[in-house]
């Protein structure tokens, strides 16, 4: 998980980092002006009446006014036109924000507990960060591997839910070079609040370099392939540490996989076992079958997510962690 390095105090709307953020802010600030006007008017009238007509002791002098049809029609009809105007403006902007241009670069985004992974048309893969070329439209095709997540980029003024077994779409055209913060906005469990990612907005040549650096790892080297599957396709390192406790104190949501192969583990309600190939495969595909003492049964099953070959390479990688 990447820890962002911003330190300034957040207060108002974030920087406008996409083509549509400006239109968003215009609508936002116009509504704020309208709302402030209404609030001051209503509260001002209320405060004045309370002060002016407060009871000062003695007789209660009141003027009974049961209703005033003209006034009541006015304050029903005028707001009606105002809100309908807002509705139309909001809907128009919404369609602009939702419908991507046809020539957009398509990137597949997958949310999983608690990690975002990205896959590019040329096969490049990454986790926790994605790169995009500046001033080019980008279309994200979003899904989830487990529960609901939501891909939220405040500086683009956009978010879209990640729904398992379904694709949702979000698009943006970045105009600001640099790193944009991504949050998960739909509650998803223990590390929901650490499910960050960064969108690196780069010049074309830097973007190309980034793509090359994230080219897919082919399966000719089982351990390197297994490592890539572990970190990106599985996102396993969101919960499992792979180095010694001294070198990598976090995460500890799942058992530490450093020197896991051949280790003796106490299984809840089943006694001690020795970690071998079959145990590892079972724990990936059906993790609820054997839970190590001291851990919650929190891991989603990965059955069907990996091919036999991939499972073999994952296990080869785990064996290499010594």
């Amino acid at each position: 998980m990447i820890q962002p390095n911003t330190t300034e105090v957040a207060f108002g709307l974030p920087a406008q980092a996409s083509t549509l953020a400006g239109a968003y802010d215009t609508l936002f600030l116009s509504l704020t002006a309208l709302v402030t006007f209404c609030f001051v008017l209503i509260m001002g009238a209320g405060a004045y009446f309370v002060y002016r007509y407060r009871w000062r002791g003695g007789e209660h002098n009141v003027v009974e006014i049961s209703h005033n049809t003209a006034l009541e029609v006015a304050w029903s009809v005028i707001p009606l036109f105002v809100v309908m105007g807002l509705f139309v403006w909001g809907f128009k902007n919404y369609m602009d924000q939702l419908i991507p241009p046809k020539d957009a670069l398509e990137v597949r985004v997958t949310g999983k507990k608690w990690k975002w992974t990205f896959e590019y048309p040329n096969g490049a893969q990454s986790a926790d960060e994605m790169a995009v070329p500046i001033n080019k439209p980008v279309k994200l095709i979003i899904t989830s591997n487990d529960v609901l997540h939501s891909f939220f980029v405040p500086s683009f003024r956009m978010k879209m839910d990640a729904v398992p077994n379904k694709y949702t779409v979000m698009w943006f055209q970045p105009v600001l070079e640099g790193s944009q913060q991504v949050f998960c906005a739909e509650y998803c469990g223990t590390d929901h609040s650490k499910m960050y990612a960064q969108i690196k907005v780069l010049q074309p040549d830097a973007y190309q370099k980034w793509l090359d650096a994230h080219a897919p790892v082919n399966d000719s080297d089982p351990i390197a392939h297994g490592k890539s599957l572990f970190e990106i396709k599985g996102g396993c390192n969101a919960c499992h540490a792979v180095k010694s406790a001294a070198e990598q104190p976090q995460p500890v949501i799942g058992p530490r996989l450093y020197q896991v192969f051949g280790r003796k583990e106490k299984i809840q309600g089943q006694g001690e076992i020795t970690v071998d190939d079959n145990y590892l495969r079972e724990s990936i595909e059906n993790p609820m079958a054997k839970i190590v003492e001291g851990f919650a049964p929190a891991m989603p099953p990965f059955k069907g997510r990996f091919t036999d070959k991939e499972l073999g390479h994952l296990i080869d990688y785990l064996k290499s962690l010594k």
């Binding site: 936002f28 709302v35 007509y53 009871w55 009141v62 049961s66 209703h67 009541e72 609040s193």
Partner: protein, 541 residues
């Protein structure tokens, strides 16, 4: 004013109040008296309110610093879930209808009791059973899904989701029973001369609420049963791994839970309408508009649930319809606020504690309502959805609205059903603290949300820390305010002065009987010959 002549005018011959009409624990546990049932509801609602408040303060304390402050992330997730579930299902939904409504509605109608006293008692016990099951779920592996129980998280979570969902299911019946009773009571038990348009606005509001309760709550019941069926029997309904659709759950859930927002706030509208008229010492402005706008809100409120789902991938057409209808609801709501403000005009405004709560309500609810416009605007919702902006918005409506109305109403009717007057000084202090604390707690959260702070976060980025600290300090002031309120009210039971039958010079029927009222509310049958807020000379005392 209404015609009501006690059959005996000599004070010495007054019948015993409902507190003294019978004695012993059993006379309370098996009581069919709507006032006693209301008082028992009140005690339980306050107990639950304190429990939910402690959860809230723990959540706010954890958020004092960006990293870990007092608890680990899983405990934090349980705390905010329990806070939400307890406050929604055990506090806000029953608060005004089941406690104040139960005590006051039949008296305002000139009735001896509600239409079905046994169903009323059953409603209370169902509430207690539901509350106990909810408490049990805390100890059997506290639920961590958020009060919204979104699938597939809730169908795969290992916490005791089924128990908490069962509790919510059972509590739904309590709500249905109360709603059923109020509808029947309003239709059948009005005093002679009490036409629909002579009913106090508190009754109108409870009537509109009851209609929503009996129509919407069964949908929640069915949804929660389906959730349990999926968790226990693995029938694929919402979980995609079993062939279900998680977005379907959101549709079902909000089909109840959006109308439920009106179940929570519309009774508050009723309280405020009665209070603002009484403490302005004049009739309410636009009585019919306020009465009918409650019904309007109740109807349109059923058709706006999709505005919770603008980022769920639902179709743009559906989103457009939901957004348009949501804006329409702003109109009857605005009408109410403007009518209340207009009522102050040329009144004689008596600034006692219930009126301070009423004015606090107007401030907080207006902010809550106006910020709803941002969320109804589809485009703006894309950024604000699931951020602290939403958290701030619904607390301004649910807590600033409903709870301020509830506590204002409680101070207003307290002398009626206890016969004791609370300390005005302490009441004012408590109200001021709650108001200031509230605005610090939730005002700061609007700014957090606009800056992009997502909700339900255990950790947060360092740039959000200053506003989080303002919010946490505000929450302590708010908590102190509510604690003082309780002290103020309970202390009056021991040391409060006798309130008299009508300390506020109010016009509705409950102020015509003694404080506290006798078992069947009135001696003899009251009759009604004018509007509820009519102060014209001639009738009554």
């Amino acid at each position: 004013m209404t015609q009501y002549t006690p059959s005996s005018s000599e004070p010495g011959q007054r019948p015993p109040s409902f507190w003294n009409s019978s004695h012993g624990i059993a006379s309370w546990l098996f009581t069919l008296d709507h006032k006693r049932i209301g008082v028992m509801y009140l005690a339980f609602v306050w107990a639950a309110f304190m429990l939910g408040g402690v959860f809230a303060l723990l959540v706010r304390t954890e958020l004092l610093t960006a990293g870990k402050t007092i608890v680990d992330p899983d405990t934090y997730n349980q705390l905010f879930t329990l806070h939400g579930a307890v406050m929604v299902f055990l506090v806000i939904i029953p608060s005004i209808p089941a406690s104040l409504g139960n005590i006051i509605l039949p008296i305002q109608l000139g009735a001896k009791d509600v239409a079905f006293p046994r169903v009323n008692l059953a409603s209370f016990y169902i509430y207690v059973i539901g509350a106990l099951i909810a408490l049990y779920s805390i100890f059997s592996g506290a639920v961590d899904t958020g009060w919204t129980f979104y699938t597939p998280y809730s169908t795969t979570s290992n916490s005791s989701v089924s128990t908490m969902v069962l509790a919510a299911f059972i509590l739904g019946f309590s709500s249905i029973f109360t709603g059923l009773n109020f509808i029947a009571t309003v239709h059948r038990l009005r005093a002679p001369g009490m036409t629909f348009f002579r009913m106090p606005l508190f009754v109108w509001a409870l009537y509109a609420t009851s209609v929503i309760q009996i129509l919407a709550t069964p949908v929640l019941g069915i949804t929660l049963l389906l959730l349990i069926a999926e968790r226990v029997l693995h029938v694929g309904i919402f979980d995609p791994a079993l062939g279900g659709d998680p977005v379907l759950f959101q549709h079902f859930f909000w089909f109840y839970s959006h109308p439920a927002v009106y179940i929570m706030i519309v009774p508050g509208f009723g309280v405020i309408s009665d209070l603002i008229s009484t403490f302005s010492r004049k009739a309410i402005f636009g009585y019919r508009a306020i009465a009918l706008s409650s019904i309007g809100i109740a109807i349109v409120g059923f058709l706006v649930w999709g505005h919770h789902m603008f980022t769920s991938g639902q179709s743009e057409l559906a989103g457009m319809i939901f957004s348009g209808l949501t804006f329409l609801i702003a109109i009857p709501t605005a009408i109410k606020v403007l009518n209340w403000i207009a009522t102050l005009y040329k009144g004689s405004i008596v600034l006692r504690t219930p009126m301070w709560y009423t004015l606090g309500f107007l401030w907080l609810f207006t902010i809550g309502g106006l910020t709803g416009m941002y969320l109804a605007t589809m485009s703006l919702d894309l950024h604000l959805h699931d951020t602290y902006f939403v958290v701030a918005h619904f607390h301004y409506v649910m807590m600033g609205g409903t709870m301020f109305a509830f506590i204002g109403g409680l101070h207003y009717w307290w002398p009626k059903f206890t016969g004791k007057m609370y300390s005005e000084k302490l009441g004012n202090w408590a109200c001021a603290l709650a108001f200031i604390g509230f605005n610090l707690t939730f005002g700061s959260q609007f700014f957090l949300g606009v800056a992009g702070m997502p909700r339900r976060y255990y950790n947060y980025l360092p740039q959000f820390e200053p506003l989080h600290q303002v919010s946490t300090i505000g929450s302590y002031i708010l908590g102190l305010g509510f604690f003082l309120t309780l002290v103020c009210l309970l202390r009056s039971l021991k040391s409060g002065a006798d309130a008299g039958d009508n300390p506020w010079e109010a016009t509705t029927l409950e102020w015509k009987t003694s404080s506290p009222p006798p078992l069947e509310n009135f001696m003899g049958q009251p009759t009604v010959d004018r509007g509820p807020y009519d102060r014209a000379t001639g009738g009554g005392h």
